[in-house]
Symmetry: C3
Subunit: 340 residues, 3 copies
């Protein structure tokens, strides 16, 4: 159950409404049954809602009236007989939608709330319903759109644009950036730092970087990730990209829409990435390669060459996942001590 | 010698007291001999204390009266004849205890010290002897226990609880978290960010996360590490866990007591880890695996499957370290160019 | 073209001056021709300056009068006939120098600018022309040299020294550190955190760390990187070291001059590194190893043993790059399914 220290009381929802949100079907249970809290399968009690992802999970649900389970068709018959059931093809996603309904986002900001402990440059352009918390620093000519929330300690550099409804979490540092609408930028994120472009000539020099960072709409970035600004042109991140914690995206990268980038991934400079790829945790992509769309890169994959579309890649240097598994098995076999 | 710019003058300690703290034995030297500073073996002079971990280190100690060396039994006879000796099985640990005695922690905070540049919500609950530095932001209903020190720029989110004696270093961002007593949370740490739970259905959605983060007592977290909050239930970290810099711990992970997690490690979602394991630098653990207790994972180990107790694992996918070394050697041999 | 939201208008520069800065030769074009903006090769128009690194790039330049290209000798004849040409051995580096001329660094700070929202300890020592932005926290006895700029939310711990002309970007946390002149410290960087020195004896203890961090001149550190302070002696980073984002440098490391350390690299404790090495992204170096000068470590290299000078190393455990490539090729061959 969501801890009342942190979350408001849930708004109850009927099994009929759950089935509709889930694009699913009520398979068992009284139509007027209400879910009043969410929880894990083994924590279910009367009024509870859970989702079932595995047979093992199904078996932990108590055999109790008044419990509602979101479940895929093939697991429905593993549930105890007393629980109510909504059958849906993707129970976890459906659960997410119901959670959002039961625990709605806080109401939008109604009026400007600027902390007296925040610094706002005289020529910053701030919409009527923006909130800026203490310790934040909004520099010259920055523009904050409608409903933007700048949390404590955030720096918004000169000239930056933050689109409507975007939330910048505490202690993020944003420079040289145009950020779209309804983005969630995590705490401690650094956007717009100088790209790591090194010239060598009897000693290294860090090249000046005169580009910027452009981020689309509904993109989320996890805590302490870093996105550098471009060298001459820009670092560009599309719409609805999901970036986890501690990810590094270098100067001039172009990342399309709908990509999922897991924790501690690194994307090197000037790499171009299409849409809807998944990058597993701790993966890396070399500089100046081109990656298509719809690929899956396993955790730790180290991508050193360009990749087309729809591949599943693994290993370092990354190869098709099947080859990687064959290589692992081959080496294991060859290294096995001979029986005497 | 500890730089007086940063550290107070040492409190002298007698060789007898050193031997007692070290649970060791004075093997050579006058009982009234005092250590007045600490340093590396090759920087020893009259009044100095060092510890000896290797034969090479032993040989760098100057042959000088008034020097005290903490040393393991097997290296005692490598030291020059003039130095005083305390023999102890773990000289480095003993040295740590003596250091703490010579350079005690700063005295506890005696009275409330709240910076006028900090934001404290009206309904935050703050013990009498709490210190909160400038630029910090303490949100609604947050609770700060006795002797808590919130350094500059820290954000403590609504409802968070910080246990007695815990120190939160500068610019950390804490949300949705219950943190125990006597913890040290590093600068720039992000606790309680939204877990990276992705639902897919004609486009990715970042699932709402309604869990929290629970951290036990005496746990330390290094700079810029990230710990996400749980999805439905909680991310839990036990007592006396030691986490280094830039570590990523994902939503719903359960990490037992006494684990040591080195720099840049990543622990994926919903993984369950027992007690007293060691994770070498840049290691990774996949999601939904179960790890027992007392294991050692080498640097860069990539753990993809559940592991029992007391194993030493290495490589990616991780295997017993012996197998990993055999695989490395086998490949090296097979790849060697044939002699003609 | 540099976005006027973020960058001032360029100062025009003549092709003759470009050739001089580039230590190159004007090979084609009127001497009075001026560059008035910079851009990518395919974005060139009258008054534009670009550099040409590849044959492909050369072919994207429009055949247009009034365009100036910096180009290496071997690519000069790939450019269209109307463009003006300056031939130089390292066009990218030359371009960087010209960029710096056309878009000079902002004028040095002329007078002390201390935000009323910054905390400055009474006994901090601050030069006349220092700038300190809102939310910054300058602790006791800290010293800020001439022309230092402390951006918003930065913490400068007690006793720290920041050399002339150094810029500390937003939300960095600096403790126990002596930093040289003309350094650029990135946003969110953590310097001087407690080293991760663990003693084991029936339970782990985090050893007290009484060392500091010393950083030379003209060193740059990327966003959210962490550098721990030493245990007894110091963590030392030389002059003109270039460190990218999310890099972890552990306690007591000694890093010489001119090293280039790419994103997400980890350098473990007490390791000693010479001068002018390059560490590719996500590389790691084990603790207590010694590395000479002029080496190149490929991305993901995991260095487990000491290395001399001038090597090119790759893989984990790292071996000469040639061996690594041979190992990769050998395994690929051995794992290939047999033809039937």
């Amino acid at each position: 159950m969501a801890d009342p220290r942190f979350y408001p009381e849930a708004q109850p929802i009927s099994i009929a409404d759950i089935a509709e949100l889930a694009r699913g079907e009520k398979a068992r249970g009284c139509s007027s049954l209400m879910a009043r809290f969410i929880g894990a399968p083994d924590a279910m009690a009367e009024g509870g809602l859970c989702f079932i992802a595995t047979k093992d999970a199904a078996e932990t649900v108590p055999d109790q009236k008044g419990v509602i389970c979101l479940v895929a068709p093939e697991l429905a018959d593993k549930l105890p007989s007393s629980v109510a059931i909504v059958v849906t093809p993707d129970p976890k996603r459906a659960f997410g939608l119901v959670m959002r309904k039961m625990y709605p986002e806080p109401a939008p900001i109604q009026s400007q709330q600027i902390s007296p402990l925040a610094h706002i440059a005289d020529d910053a352009v701030i919409a009527d319903d923006v909130r800026v918390d203490g310790g934040a620093f909004i520099d010259a000519r920055a523009e904050l759109g409608k409903g933007v929330w700048i949390k404590s300690g955030v720096k918004i550099g000169a000239g930056c644009v933050i689109g409507d409804g975007t939330v910048i979490d505490s202690n993020a540092s944003i420079d040289y950036a145009i950020i779209g609408q309804s983005c969630q930028i995590g705490a401690g994120v650094v956007i717009g730092g100088c790209g790591f472009g090194v010239g060598r000539d009897g000693g290294n020099i860090l090249l000046p970087h005169l580009g910027k960072v452009i981020i689309g709409n509904r993109t989320t970035i996890g805590g302490n990730s870093c996105i550098d600004r471009g060298f001459i042109d820009d670092t560009v991140i599309g719409d609805h990209v999901m970036i986890d914690n501690l990810v590094h995206i270098a100067h001039n990268a172009k990342i399309g829409n709908g990509n999922v980038i897991c924790g501690q991934v690194g994307i090197a400079g000037s790499t171009v990435i299409g849409d809807q790829n998944i990058f597993g945790a701790q993966a890396g992509v070399a500089d100046h390669v081109t990656i298509g769309s719809g690929n899956v890169f396993a955790a730790r994959a180290g991508v050193t060459k360009s990749v087309g579309d729809g591949q599943v890649m693994a290993g370092f240097p990354a190869v098709p996942a099947l080859e990687f598994r064959r290589e692992v098995a081959t080496l294991r076999r060859l290294a096995m001590p001979r029986k005497k």
